[in-house]
Amino acid sequence: MKSTPWYLILAIIFISACTSVNLDAPIPTYNTGVDSESWAVIQAGEFLSGQFDEPVKLDYDYEIMVTDVTVAQYFGFLNAALADGTVKVDADKIVGFYPGDEFHAVKHEIEISPGEYIFIPLNDPASRFTFDGTKFTAKPGYENHPMTNVSWFGAWGYCGYNSYRLPTELEWEKAARGSTDSRPFPWGEEIARNNANFYSSRDPFEDMSSLGSRTSPVGFYNGQIYDGYQTLDSASPYGLYDMSGNVWQWMANIYEGQHYRYMRGGSKDTYDMDLRIWVRNNATPTYFSPGVGFRCVRGGE
């Protein structure tokens, strides 16, 4: 009996590891007041790129979405694309055509040949929609959250369908950093918990004992107070929101000898170090995750 408390503590610890997570737990709903249909103009010119502030010049203007593409926006696209046959249901996923990439047979490179590729999975428990076989509907409370669980093909498909495109890494970086200084975060030099949605940032959407971190509505960190939770206005110099944290954002670049697609911005699931503007992540283009989304650009090249 004397040693029972130790066994008990250990048993509780191990049982707690096996606790199931209610992915459909209610989520607070807030109107951030930031318009997800708005765009920011990034003018041609020089900016400091990367960790070591290399001067780079983009000699064209372009526009970039002020927020990540939302769940509501994405399902607007999917419903239309499903109806006109641009995408289709294939077993447990939505697929669309991709024309393929040049293949160089470099070590570890996987060939992306022309064909149909996954846009989103249909039965993933972390997805934020319901689907009745013909129509997608966003789960209540998630309409203004960034679209997640979307592959690179799905992000590429959305942008292309609307005559937009995914940003290149340089376009994204300039939009995040502005053109005047070498700030590590879109809002400035330092990061506080209420600057962005990152791992254990104690925002109203996370529950670290069970759900972990969840996405926040786009534009949430705009200086408003939500039920007593004070956010800091964390827009980039061009007025873009969520360029650090919330979700990783797919980039357009296709590099020779690599099938990987790159992501920027860090996410709700990463520590603050990954929210620094120059940090890169990558995955196969079929990869999807509750921590990966995207935004589009238009104009420019």
Partner: protein, 492 residues
Amino acid sequence: MQFVKDRLQYLFKSTKGLILVAIAMIGLETAIFGMLSGPMAEFGIRDVVVRLFRMDLVQAEREGRIIILYHSIAMAVVAIEVYIITGMLKMKEFYRASARVLVTIGYLMTMIFGMGFAYWGHNWALHGLYIAGLTLIFFAGLILTFALWPWNREVYQPDKAYSRTKNGVDMERLAFFAAAATTLISAFFGAIPGSYFGNGFEVFLAENILRYPEKTTMEYSVIGHLHIMLALIAIMITLIIGRWMDFTGILHKIAMPLMILGTIVLSVGVWGVVTPLEPVAHMIIYVGATPSMLAALMLVIFGWDKLIRTGTAGIEKPSPWQKLKALVRDPLKFGPLWQMVFMNFTVSGIGIFMAVKLDEIFRLWPAREERIELTGHWHILSAIIATIILLYYGDLIGLKGRVRKWYGWSIIILSDLAFASATIFEMKRLFISEAEQQPLVNTVMLLADFGLGMLLVILAIVMIWRLIDLFKKKGRWAQEVEQDDLTTEVEL
């Protein structure tokens, strides 16, 4: 004045004092700087530490800070190995003293000025002193390598029970020599790109470029350097434990040539990454790692067999239970060998599994997941080496009775709990989805932090005890100051 002089004499001139200082410095550094990342940052402790110590942490300099942090801890570990080797193996007093003086000044400069540069504003004078410290350690290595020269009749092995050539060249000494020499050469693989990148102020962490198909020679050099240095530190500690256990007999005769072969081939493979051998370098590395690991396995077999035989002496036909009891009777002797075995589950096994299933599994995950696996498994290897040193140190300072058992078993159980938890964390994507992982993550992080935290508490208790001891006139230190020759510690 005499009081201070006697203590300084002990701390900086005796083998055990030097080891104590190095362990204390590592413990202090780990305790302070370990609070700047991971869960400690999550709990808000990082912010308190940064304010308390008035650190100046620029976001763009994080990678550079980490590199200096790794180096300053690693150099203190290298210093401990130098102290032990120079205390264990026969060599001229001049070489022994020179190597010790240089490595001591070197690691202290590296640690103090390096950390000062990295965490308290970039004062370039401090950076210069940090580099000077690393340079002194290199010179200490040169002297040690020279002192270990095995083709000297004075250090030939007269006893046929040990591995030796027909002429009597001591193969164990040759293994030490090979490890020291390859370490020196491997240092260049860090020093050259270090200077190159340092001049452009463009540091990077190897794990952040792992998926780039085209790497520059300098990038390959950095990756090779960090891998081989850790491997050679591990090889050196294996040789030290072998000497301490008085590794002998047929297994020793097989193990030492294997260890020498492994050390050289492994090093050549790693150096090969910056040569046209690059496409086959990994194959050479695997070929080199195998004999080294086999040699370590032979040491484990020898050591455990010896522990069982010693522990069951006097029992005519010991039962399996009695054998097991004999094996685990002394955690300080059982522990280092067990940690080598445990390493296979948390480091080598994971590494091999990753290599085999790289494209099939791990490269389908995002790069950040792969980074967790890579950094996790080499952090565990570093920590395993540290625990082996701590177990050895427990024996060195003569822990006895219940204190010996508590100290030994605490290190083994707490560290293995932490390492196993970290391994589950690394591999979690194999069995749980991202959306559902949080309870598992919480549990394994709690266990890992508890294990490592308690380990640091034990170390702190030992260090405080040793600090108090220094104030006693006839403390333990007064005995240890006379015990300079570690060969007397070897079980014969």
